[in-house]
Homo-oligomer: 414 residues x 4
């Protein structure tokens, strides 16, 4: 921007104290409207219905992950790993932008309004566009992000089982939900990182911290990410957006901001985005405020299904949820649906799906085929954590746990 | 609701660990849509532009204050102060509802859209209405809130220099902003409370905690509540709402939710609320999402002033701010305004007020006339903290500190 | 003491904030010299050689466990479990005194100087004596401690898998060592306790906290309690005391306080204690200061073995430690011992045991036969946590992990 | 030691997480017996009688201060301040050793047994000796410590109003006492440090943290360092050592370790230390264990004064303390002393001083003449914090607060 030396800026962060903005490029990225928009997207969507303080945003998370990256780079350099200034800048920008393509309530959105568009795809498109806008200053960042950089460990810092994304979100989500069980020792884990054969690995004496990390992650899944009430709230949101989309496709006029209208009344696929880059700009206008402000207005929509669901959501009258290890009895579900037909005076039986939802959730803590965390011992041996650990039972950890969920409107008397 | 014994519920809270919902009445209040709405109102408005994690809501604060009230009541009872079960319930509900009348971005709103309506007035109206809705179960709460209850100390727990509101918000705001300087020891302060002659007072050995509390509050004012950038953001919001209101009064059509429209296109005074209780219900629909989603749309409004301000707000291009102890030079301000006229092609000179804003902020830490915190010594003497303390200099603390602010659009080259 | 109402006292505690001394009896016990002596006994013995901040004392732990007991009692009462004032006082005193019989560096001491005296035996004797000294005010406490009280759950609060002892020491040791992996959520675990059929059990929704508790405990074992360097330091202390005892039995005169002399130059068994209660009073004089001040003086003792070991201990030249899953090679050990004979000019081959020590450590995280933690589900079912949990693999947890240790003086060149 | 690259070691610290040992020289110093001895000297002497967890040692503090120095150096370098590798090593060693000359219970010791020897003098002598022992590797450290280094700001990092010593001990003492009011934001203060004209100064926007730092320090003084009960305990210890010394000078035989005997039965002055360097080695053997183990034995000494005081100390029957702003009434003191003569059957009236002690404590928070903390504003102005701050009233802060203490044995019925 100018020729003055960059004056470091600090951002207060309750998780780490102070976060330093290390250079001008990072600063310029943070200032970009697309990044500023992450201020308006909650990191954990509807989780605050269960954990009221979990209203932290993707903005905070992106800054936090960038902060951990500065620490990781310092640690690796102190161990003699060569990381050039350009690579450092690249890694910092790559982690800063790793979630840039997230829309509001991504999971729900991707099932309804932008069906063929994963946030990963959009992230890539946005990074390309940002690179253009910034005169190719993001080349290295892009290469690292796409794993096209010759130093593979840089990509692993951005995206792997031990990446800075994960370390930050586990800490941060644990901090803001108040779920003390999820606390991990990022400081110690990062201090134990090193690079062997261009692979990011953990020094032997860091093994206990890694075990704790795997277990904490697992507990966070069950206590937070897959909490049955959170899932129920998400199902409700999916149903709201589905219904709105359905009404829109029938030509019903619905309240909404222009950008919400665009996505509600069009059938958008990845092709749109690839053919016309302007779509990215439109997508980048969408945030939690478009969704939630519309839902608030829809609480009085003439469509009884839409208004019922929206009012339930806004007033936190979420679905009742049952959870069990086995699939639910078909008869039981059929009964519930039947009652729904009567109760809500449904004309179309398929509309029962708005009031009775089945689902499954799966969690496996550590899959040694995909999730490799390698421990490096002094005898120069590299061992997968699942083998190196006495505490972790690989057969347990690698068997996914499946649970079946049944959600239905509380008004249905069973 | 039913005759089963109430099953205590817990809410995770990162500040205090677990918050217990102590009884059915409190539970029913929390479930009420008017209380649920506090989930959608940020406690600190636009402060997150400076402290990104300060996105906690009025909902969390109300629960936290209620939690501290349970602790205070337990402490007082352990010291032999009589508090009946009914009074306990009343105090809990009174503190839970103390902020119920807050609208979105209250300070800005009260200067523009609901000009004659303080949130305190609305809180009283809402509490009356809730009492009716709940078959008078809130009688005692109402009396305590209005200071009509014979035990005056109960009101002081809800509203005084050492009320649970203040103790919670200082802790909570400090926690979420990450401003460690503001941390207070609520646990210790509460343990030191007692009642003498129906007055809430502090035991002598709690004096250091009280000194620290007064000083922390002062630092929180300068570092957070009166942070110049936060004030600048609020001025910008006020100007946005002013401009929107101005355009609305000219009949210009603006995007907005129905409830926002109602307040934008009507001139609402306290009389409306008193004459027609339905206005309370309308007000209770308004939250941050109505305001911010409209501002987002207005970024492309044909009115250049409105769209410029909205875009600046959304992309965080806040006013540049100067702050000083003396008033700003009139000439300097006139120059700035003149440049604005040219730069933005303003037709009406009074519109310069949208781009150049003067203001003052004031803080006095402790006013012994209004803010009485009494310390109770073993010789049965009650002394004001300003006299009891060797550390606090009453002349310093009671002299208000005034600062002058000058905000102007960054585009103006000075 | 007097007839005035008891004035509650508070003690600052970094782990919990403020600890309240709830009544006169507890206060009087804390003032007793036998309890004050716990100030001079480190909770974790020599662990500070690895974790320098782990210098907290048994005094702090006893107060902390008492504090958790007040919380547990309050929670249980709020769930309708009847606990009389007398039982409350009894439970508080029982937990306060649960470790009263610990001597300095108990593990080392019990292997050398008070060979037939477990600290549990001594605790019982001391509690009897205290009860006499305090005019039988500890009757109920004694009954609870000995599990002679009709309400069995009171004993379980003092001594079981989920007792307040364990909850406090895991939290406290984790806090002072700085081993974040060991942090447990005592607040939540206690809030989830209830009593079913006179058994202390955990409510169903507390299961994740219990899983985390079991795993944290396991990690604390490996990272702290069984840390190889800590074990090595303890072996060294055992050898020092053994050598001193050996020299004493040969009539060699050694520096030491009178009470240390008493235990060094006599062969004390439980019979002494049972026959002559004065022995308890003598034992109660012994603390870390007697042991360590003698070791400091012994660093210049003419006996080369004693002085070598003492100097090593004081200057923190601990044994080198190897740890492995299999037993060590006999030949390897024989070699080491042979080198020792030469290096230290040993006359008696059995003295090599002072320089080369073999040992094993064992940890099993959860033994469902002895360690029962029962989870109580709403359908009134009581299930062992090992069955109730998807996360814990019972076969893994119940298989003890054995490790073999070999410690030898660093001076031996291998 | 060897030619392998130094392998960084980590030490767990509950205050900062992990402390890194940055190089071989620092490692070797830590291993030195003189430094290891700091493990056996409590940082806050008898303060644990009021705050039971304040049993942290000078060893932890020295490591913590060294850790903050690594952070400060990194921050300064990032701002373009040149610090060579040699200077870095020097500053790290200087801060590590800044307290090396402290004896056990320094304040008490310096008033009785080593009367003419300040711990500062001894530190200098020990650093010289260490430098010799380590082949002059501590030259730079010594120069920095003595303020003989051309870069004055390096000395200021070790010893000034904002040195790493102070930052660490305030944090650490606050942490271990559990006095939340004393918490300071070391991270932020350090990030705001810079060097202007070879002076360590604070950037303008750090002013709130500095204000908070000054106030916290002041509160720590009254709540911890000058707590009346702590002072009373120290007076008692002084009296014990005085009495022992008196008896020793009369040729009475007292229990004690050889090194304690040496200092008890000789009259040692700085001349001894200067003439014969062996005295340093002797002094370096003395620690808390020598003092306290002797006091324990002296509880049964035939001298009634010594045994009474020692028993009072060990059982925590401390003096009763009165504190007030004015001097105590002479008549009141005379009465107390008279009662003492009778009560304890004193033969010599001057012995009443063992049972009735007068004293004063003084605290002034900030003396702008000696304590200079300079704030550096962007206009390149350097302003003393007392002028830069709106919050701090210099006349209040610079007026020392004096309090008068009167301590007397609880047995005296007034």
């Amino acid at each position: 921007m100018n020729n003055l030396p960059f004056k470091r800026k600090f951002i207060n962060d309750p998780v780490y104290g102070l976060i330093t903005i290390p250079n001008t490029l990072v600063f310029d990225l943070i200032e970009h409207p697309w990044f500023q928009r992450l201020r308006r997207i909650l990191q954990l969507g509807l989780t605050h219905y269960v954990y009221p303080s979990a209203v932290h945003t993707r903005y905070q998370h992106a800054l936090g992950a960038m902060h951990l990256m500065t620490q990781a780079i310092e640690v690796l350099r102190s161990k003699g790993i060569l990381i050039t200034a350009e690579e450092e800048e690249g890694a910092l920008c790559a982690i800063l932008l790793h979630d840039i393509g997230h829309g509001p309530y991504s999971h729900a959105l991707e099932q309804t309004m932008v069906r063929e568009l994963s946030h990963e795809d959009i992230s890539l498109l946005m990074m390309d566009s940002l690179n253009e806008q910034m005169n190719n200053r993001l080349e290295t960042a892009n290469r690292i992000f796409r794993n096209d950089h010759p130093k593979k460990f840089l990509h692993q810092l951005v995206s792997s089982q031990l990446d800075m994304d994960r370390l930050d979100y586990l800490s941060r989500d644990s901090f803001f939900t108040g779920v003390a069980e999820g606390v991990i020792n990022t400081d110690r884990i990062i201090k134990m990182l090193t690079v062997v054969d261009d692979q990011l690995v953990v020094e032997g004496k860091g093994i206990y911290s890694i075990e704790k990390f795997i277990i904490s992650r697992r507990l966070m899944y069950w206590q937070v990410y897959l909490h049955k009430t959170v899932i129920a709230a998400e199902y409700m949101l999916v149903n709201i957006l589905k219904r709105a989309k359905e009404l829109a496709s029938q030509g019903v006029s619905l309240f909404g901001s222009p950008v919400l209208h665009l996505f509600l009344y069009s059938d958008i696929t990845i092709t749109h985005f690839l053919e016309d880059r302007e779509w990215i700009g439109e997508f980048a206008k969408l945030d939690d405020y478009d969704i939630l402000s519309a839902i608030k207005v829809w609480t009085t929509n003439p469509d009884p299904i839409l208004s019922f669901l929206c009012k339930s959501m806004i007033d936190r009258h979420l679905y009742k949820v049952e959870i069990q290890n086995e699939p639910f009895d078909r008869k039981y579900i059929a009964d519930l649906k039947e009652k729904t037909v009567t109760l809500f005076g449904l004309e179309d039986e398929k509309d029962t799906g708005y009031f009775v939802v089945e689902g499954t959730v799966t969690n496996n803590a550590y899959n040694p085929e995909h999730d490799r965390i390698r421990i490096w011992f002094r005898n120069n041996e590299l061992v997968d954590v699942s083998e190196a650990s006495d505490q972790l039972n690989i057969s347990v950890l690698s068997t996914p746990v499946n649970k079946h969920l049944l959600c239905y409107s509380k008004n249905i008397v069973v």
